[in-house]
Symmetry: C2
Subunit: 226 residues, 2 copies
DNA sequence: GGTAAAACTTGATTTAAATCAAATTTTAGA
DNA sequence: TCTAAAATTTGATTTAAATCAAGTTTTACC
């Protein structure tokens, strides 16, 4: 199931008692981010947490040679940047908008307040963080044990889920080849070749940068994933 | 710093108010586990959480082909198995004692009780889980971007820290070659070759299964890690 | 303490994926 | 809309690491 690879903080807001939700909605401050604009950077101190109202955000780690490994792509309705606040550390990774996005900000002070006052909120956060923990563990297993082909197939399935739009029959995955390569832990040239094969096998179709999945069932098989 | 790769739930017990600590110590039930004995298994439902009094425990994920990727090695004083309880899921990985160990057990009921009653405990757990989350993120970056040689060097440094014994000048890392390979995300043959090279370069010495680090500084360089 | 089984090491070979290089296509700004 | 720059694709080659194979050593148990 794809939930093994997706966080689910979308539901935090829904599951919260209305008092807490209203408090949060009151104190959140919206800000627009343009495509490619950074939200926070590895090594800096957090000043609050973020809630993605609309758009998409990638979170990645950069290694010595400048190669980035994408850890996660956040979708509408997800909280992010809170684990560094909780562990009282500098950010361990960098977050960048990969589409024009609207992001709400909650200051550390406000965040700590609701954390202290609302046991439902802290309980939900614990539950959520535990799930996110398992997502990373699953990712570790995938990155270290699967072939590039399998990893690309799996990431297409994950993205298919993220780019799904309600009431739309077709899903268009739209992100750069290098972002897709950096999710799958490979290089763009290898990624291009794998996509070429998938097209040839009628698993996907492409239109410029856009990717559409034509045959989910077989792609699941290629991902060797169940 | 090596803390980027080590959890720190050792300190949970110390940082807890004495009431909470005493409660925990009262309700924990000790059990002995022999080397290679499983503690819990991927896919089963959690019935409580564990605290490692003495010994060492590996936690790993198995892939379709039976290859295991070790996610973490727990040391004395660490809690484990709690994230599945919190996320209300089956275990996402398997835990096995890699030495004879003494492990305390806390039932879900008791765990939820202290979680509900003690805000310090839940706050500490959140902090801790956030740190563990960052450890996995770091691991992802290492596994996907570093060479086998770098990964083996890094894992030796991590293990050096775990196998340290107070007041002892030398540290002996003692685990099977396949466990070490499964930490570094490689196969035993390749691991043996890398260790051979490290011995030749006077970075480590071995005595049977035991590994001693001779030159930490240079090993840090080889790990390309700072 | 001896011995069979398991674990480990070394060598030869293969292979998946990275790198290097050069077109071709797409994008975004003037 | 045009155009330069950026992104993508395809081809040729290299390389790091896996696999296959065969010893050698160590471990654990009777």
């Amino acid at each position: 199931m794809i939930t093994k690879f997706t966080f689910n903080s979308q539901f935090i807001l829904d599951e919260l008692p209305s008092d807490d939700r209203e408090f949060l909605e009151k104190i959140m401050v919206d800000k627009k981010y343009r495509k490619n604009q950074p939200i926070f950077t590895e090594g800096t101190l957090p000043s609050g947490i973020f809630y993605l109202q609309s758009g998409k955000v990638k979170k990645y780690k950069m290694d010595n040679d400048g190669r980035e490994q994408i850890i996660y792509i956040y979708n509408e309705g997800e909280f992010f940047g809170y684990s560094s606040v909780l562990s009282e550390n500098t950010y361990g990774d960098t977050a960048v908008a990969i589409e024009n996005s609207i992001i709400s900000f909650i200051t550390i002070k406000d965040f700590n307040e609701i954390l202290r006052d609302s046991s439902s909120f802290s309980r939900l956060l614990l539950k959520n963080l535990s799930h996110e923990f398992s997502v990373l563990a699953n990712l570790i297993a995938v990155l270290s044990q699967r072939t590039v082909r399998e990893r690309v197939a799996l990431n297409l399935l994950i993205l298919h889920d993220k780019y799904k739009v309600e009431d739309m029959k077709n899903t268009n995955i739209l992100l750069s080849r290098s972002d897709l390569a950096n999710m799958a832990g490979t290089v763009v040239e290898t990624l291009a070749r794998v996509l070429h094969d998938f097209k040839h096998d009628k698993l996907i179709s492409t239109d410029g940068r856009k990717i559409q999945i034509l045959n989910i069932e077989r792609l699941i098989q290629v991902a060797n994933f169940y």
